[in-house]
């Protein structure tokens, strides 16, 4: 297994109290596989990724427990400089906002080449040649002419390609993409997602795709993990989850997106709001918003029940949820 996250806990100390952002998350990604982590803002999907890569702000953040096994090695136990070596060569991250992740006063060639100078000890001239190669690889037209240009001279889609090129530079075995297409237009979004999927196949990398968009996920993911209030509430192969979700939250999310191919009267809306992480409801954290909630949900926290060999759901009534769909 390429990456295994086991029972990860992350909390933030704030003036108002302890924010429990991640409460026991476990997932795994194999080489050549795409895992989509789906959740709304505040679900802990990005914080989990930051803890894996090791860019969590500490303090106020603190890893409360758990393991992050990368190729069998627990990253959380390593010293910062050892960890940096593993991370630099092994994993890379792509962020949502390409404009603010790129340095505006350095040319894109310099920024891409820097990776080779620092990690591979290349000369600046060789590094520049590699930068052009990378830009070609992510299909930026006229790479040789554009290598000396600055980020503001590129469009949003092109900037995101440069971010992808940067992530690919050291040929990592794992890429974590945090909302990589959220800031882009639909037509460009499709181009970037296709590029990511293609490169993943070509280079046989593991890909973790963090997103709130169920549509984007459907196109590229193999498996999906749905997060709510710092926990995984459902994991399943992508086809299964769309056909028949086994958790009421997933069901609600699917029902609340308007469909392009049909025009309904009223949209289904999950009532209420996501919980305040300072004060997560007892029992199942989704129970105040859940149409299926019964007394047991307010007291007993549901474990991740095994639905089938490849599926899990953290709902006491996963059978009923699945069954409802069949009706």
């Amino acid at each position: 297994m390429l990456l295994e996250v086991r029972d990860l806990h992350v909390e933030f100390r704030t003036r108002e109290g302890v924010v429990n952002a991640v409460n026991g998350v476990s997932y795994e990604v194999d080489a050549g596989e795409t895992l989509a982590v789906l959740g709304e803002s505040g679900s802990g999907k990005s914080v989990t990724a930051q803890a894996i890569v090791g860019i969590l702000d500490v303090p106020p953040g603190r890893i409360g427990g758990g393991e992050v096994l990368f190729k069998g090695q627990d990253l959380l136990k390593l010293k910062e400089d050892e960890r940096r070596k593993v991370r630099g060569a092994g994993m890379a991250m792509i962020f949502q906002d390409a404009l603010s992740s790129l340095n505006p006063v350095l040319s894109v060639g310099q920024q891409l080449g820097e990776m080779f100078v620092v990690h591979r000890g290349m000369s600046h001239k060789d590094a520049k040649a590699r930068a052009v190669e990378l830009m070609d690889r992510v299909r930026i037209p006229a790479a040789r002419e554009r290598v000396g240009q600055y980020p503001h001279q590129f469009s949003g889609g092109m900037r995101q390609r440069i971010m992808i090129a940067m992530a690919l530079a050291l040929e990592p075995s794992l890429i974590i993409a945090d909302e990589p297409t959220t800031a882009l237009d639909v037509t460009v979004q499709a181009q970037v997602m296709d590029l990511l999927a293609e490169l993943r196949r070509e280079l046989h990398m593991g890909l973790i795709l963090i997103t709130h968009d169920l549509g984007v996920v459907a196109d590229v993911a193999d498996r999906i993990a749905v997060m709510y209030a710092g926990k995984i509430v459902e994991t399943a192969p992508v086809h299964d989850i769309y056909k028949a979700p086994a958790h009421p939250y997933t069901r609600g999310l699917l029902d609340s997106i308007p469909r392009l191919d049909q025009k309904g009267s009223e949209l289904y809306a999950i009532k209420g709001l996501p919980p305040n992480l300072l004060n997560i409801p007892p029992g199942c954290s989704f129970h105040p918003r859940c149409p299926r909630a019964r007394d047991v949900c307010t007291t007993d926290e549901p474990p991740l029940y095994e639905v089938s060999g490849t599926r899990h759901s953290a709902c006491h009534f996963w059978r009923e949820t699945l069954h409802d769909v069949d009706n």
Partner: protein
């Protein structure tokens, strides 16, 4: 204020349109030099947009960033002065109005903004924010009555009326957008222009706000101009949809016409790029991946603006700008393909054209070929 004349009602609609927009243009000048600013060109943000909005109707406007959809919204509420063209509210031209005349018209056209975090003043209470329009238009609510009015509005948008003294930061994104909507409703307008009202919200909250807007529409007989880049949401809420590309409307029609029978290649590409939330659906659909980016509106391509990215483009597309009109070869047949589409090769099929422009693509001899050449002002819907 209510002059009920004007005869240019498009056939098909029964009542007079609330808003009539004709040839709306907004150019931003590009200058060079520090002391003596020379005009070196213009960014053609909006370049000749026309549409009607009927009472109680929702017109969706979709397009990618930079296509001019938000600039249209700003001109409708008079936050931007049009460079040319005409906006008429119930038959009265409002583009040249100033002072008192403008004030009374503005009451009737209100706006809901995209970002509920920056469009609410953090130092004002919710009561002050929603009540502020009454300061400018005291005729709507006399002073003593305002607090009760604001509480009514909070109740209407589904917020607890007791929250009247809270500040914006005490609310979540969805609740803030409700506050923005309540402020838009305060003056009992007839038209609400909503610019990406749900884009900043989480999926589960989006649905709540869309449902609220639909409920309010039927309750108060509002007309909406709903601008968004999310095609699924636009279809859900709109009666008619206009697709914009580089400052122009390229296709306009009812939601069925646009979503199920698009004839403009840009609309077809846009629809095919929308991620479907079901992997089984996506297996049997054809995806069109557009190459490249949207050209700069400061220097749009000649002829048809879309031709640089269009797989159907022929030599004629660079020469002649296709007018926004019902294509001749669809005009007689009626049916869902007979809606305005600004393409020389408008067709439901996405195959590259064969034969001459201005004829039904593929057909041996389809109608008199006078399609191209007739560029001019975009005609109304027929």
């Amino acid at each position: 204020m209510t002059s009920t004349t004007e005869s240019s009602v498009p056939a098909g609609t029964t009542s007079e349109p609330v808003l009539e927009v004709r040839d709306l243009v907004k150019h931003y000048p590009l200058t060079q030099g520090i002391l003596f600013k020379r005009h070196v060109g213009a960014v053609k943000a909006v370049d000749g947009v026309s549409f009607d909005l009927a009472r109680g109707e929702t017109l969706g406007i979709v397009g990618e960033s930079g296509c001019g959809k938000s600039t249209v919204a700003k001109m409708l509420v008079h936050l931007e002065e049009p460079t040319g063209g005409r906006i008429a509210f119930k038959g009265q031209d409002i583009t040249g109005l100033s002072g008192r005349g403008m004030k009374s018209v503005r009451r009737n056209i209100q706006m809901v903004f995209q970002d509920p975090y920056t469009s609410l003043n953090p130092r004002m209470t919710v009561g002050d924010i929603i009540g502020e329009p009454f300061e400018i238009h005291p005729e709507v609510a006399p002073k003593g009555d305002r607090r009760r009015k604001v509480q009514d509005l909070l109740d209407v948008v589904g917020l607890n009326p007791e929250y009247i003294n809270r500040y914006p930061h005490q609310f979540s994104g969805g609740q803030r957008q409700r506050i923005g909507i309540a402020r838009g409703l305060a003056l009992q307008p007839e038209v609400i222009v909503a610019d990406e009202p749900v884009s900043a919200l989480d999926v589960s909250v989006q649905a709540q706000v869309v449902n609220l807007m639909e409920r309010l529409q039927s309750e108060f007989e509002l007309s909406y101009v709903f601008i968004a880049h999310d095609l699924s949401i636009v279809r859900h809420i709109s009666n008619r949809v206009a697709v914009m590309y580089l400052g122009k409307v390229v296709e306009i029609g009812t939601d069925t016409e646009i979503y199920e029978h698009p004839t403009h290649p840009y609309t077809q590409a846009l629809l095919s790029a929308v991620p479907l939330p079901d992997p089984t659906d996506r297996e049997h659909r054809e995806r069109i991946l557009l190459a490249g980016d949207v050209p700069s509106p400061a220097n749009p391509p000649s002829g048809c603006h879309f031709r640089t990215r269009c797989w159907k483009a022929q030599e004629v597309c660079a020469r002649v700008e296709p007018p926004l009109a019902v294509p001749e070869w669809f005009r007689d047949g009626g049916g869902p393909t007979a809606h305005p589409s600004a393409c020389h090769f408008a067709d439901e099929s996405t195959a590259p054209p064969t034969g001459e422009p201005g004829k039904r693509p593929g057909a041996p001899d389809g109608g008199p070929g006078s399609g191209p050449g007739a560029s001019g002002r975009p005609p109304e819907e027929a």
